[in-house]
Amino acid sequence: MTITRAYLGVLGQLLLNSLSKLLSFRLNFILFLFAELAAFSTFYLTVDFLYQHITTVGGWNRTHFMFFIIWWQCVMNLHSAFAAPNFWNFASELQNGNLDFRLLRPLGSLFDTFTAITRPISLVIFPLNASLLVYYGSQIPLSASKWLAVTPLLLLSLTLTILIELLIAMSMFWTTGGDGVNFIRIQCQQISKWPDFVYPRVFRVAFTVGIPILATSTFSVRALFDDGAWWEVPFLVCACITLWLVIGQLWRLGLRRYESASS
């Protein structure tokens, strides 16, 4: 309990530091906000234009599809705020040897490395996405029990997304530069922003059973739409546990391989 409180305290302090840093560059703040809105609006309009010419895709009408993309946007908002900047930072710290300082701190090194930077600006747009999620959820409509499941499932989608990206990021220990690996991460996000049924079967199996990229948003949302898809939730939990165990092993292996450019 004391440890959890200490770690949450560190997270809170990091968030405050990021906020004050962000506000000291006001033009950047506005640009970041604009970028978030641009990403949101272009994807929203893409699906909206698509549904001006069709009625359903894979049994999902416009409302279902909009709920799905807003879900994905909510996950990405939280991801951009708490996780994304750390993957880029990890790549540069591995190259310039600054990872050394993280290993010396009295914190779990994996925690410290991947929570060091937060980007609170991404949370500014979160209320808009959350409101739209509620709007489209009520249009479907979701039952009371499904509404109760929304927050845990959203967090499950976020956790699985971060864990998959952590797994990919571990490969940076074995590559020359981390930029390429970070691009794989971003491409995985692009793949997961569409529901699994748009992809061919082979691809669907590979990216669900192999690396569960397609499960991150599709499984959670489908569990809300379809009672028969309940089994997809335990799949997500098992995937998270398995990935966490594998990441722990890879982190230890990677650190053994790490040569510290600064020393």
């Binding site: 950047n28 970028a35 641009a38 698509l50 930029d179 390429g180 691809f203």
Partner: protein, 268 residues
């Protein structure tokens, strides 16, 4: 004098090519993989959209036409949007352009040579991609005239894209982070150029408004040239593209001059 200048360009291009190819996996992952994922998603989304409606046309566009359009949009993306000149902004911010300012080869020439070096490698990639798409039967019989015109147009668009990237890079004289503006522009460019949804499916008022912007020239026009579409007004498209390239290049040159005056040469 001219020969000496050509030599500088030739050597810089050659060095850039070697640098790009030094880290092949990184080159593939950062510059080619995004385009491959782009086609993978676009192709499959449209294929499934048509499959779920049993192949029925969407606003007069058949499934084959749409999938061919997506394949050509991928080729256009490879030629036009793959190069990224991120270094300029970093060089400015960290004060590294000081040394460039002393060299007998201007900064824009250095970056243009780097861009040309990249495009030479990229054209080889395009040839491979075209062959693979053709062998897989994803593209119909190619018309040589349409192919050459499409490649020429796409290369000119890549020039426009380079000028835009240079302009964004130069804003580092004033901005802490330049990638944000670049990403915002790229998001709108991908959407409004018809890279995913062909402009024919856009609401008519928006389509009309877009004809006054460079966005349709970035994907829709070159993809339709490749498709040998009768809807493309070739002469006016080339003229319009030339005007946009000149405008953006002049703006980039003006911004560069203002920025250099503003520059405090950090790092000396």
């Amino acid at each position: 004098m001219v020969i000496a200048e050509i030599q500088k360009w030739r050597i810089t291009i050659s060095v850039s090519m070697s640098r790009f190819m030094a880290y092949k996996i990184d080159f593939f992952l950062t510059l080619l993989a995004p385009s491959l994922v782009f086609i993978l998603i676009n192709y499959n989304v449209w294929r499934s959209v048509y499959s779920f409606r049993n192949g029925a046309n969407i606003d007069g566009i058949s499934m084959d036409q749409m999938l061919h359009y997506q394949c050509w949009a991928f080729i256009v993306t490879l030629i036009v949007r793959s190069h990224r000149s991120w270094n300029l902004a970093e060089d400015i911010r960290l004060g590294r352009i000081t040394s460039f300012l002393l060299y007998p080869f201007e900064v824009w020439k250095f970056h243009a040579s780097e861009f040309l070096g990249f495009q030479i490698i990229q054209m080889a990639t395009v040839c491979i991609a075209l062959t693979i798409l053709r062998l897989l039967g994803l593209l119909p019989e190619l018309s040589l005239q349409a192919l050459l015109l499409g490649i020429l147009f796409s290369l000119l668009v890549s020039g426009l894209w380079f000028a835009l990237e240079f302009l964004f890079g130069v804003t580092a004289f004033w901005l802490e982070e330049t990638w944000v503006a670049r990403v915002v522009f790229q998001l709108f460019a991908v959407f409004l150029s018809g890279a995913f949804i062909p402009l024919e499916l856009f609401p008519p008022p928006l389509r009309d408004a877009l004809s006054y912007t460079p966005f349709p020239l970035m994907t829709s026009v070159p993809a339709n040239i490749f498709l040998n579409s009768p809807n493309v007004a070739l002469a006016s498209s080339f003229a319009s593209l030339a005007i946009w390239i000149i405008l953006v290049a002049l703006l980039a040159a003006f911004t560069w001059k203002r920025g250099v005056k503003h520059y405090t040469a950090a790092g000396i």
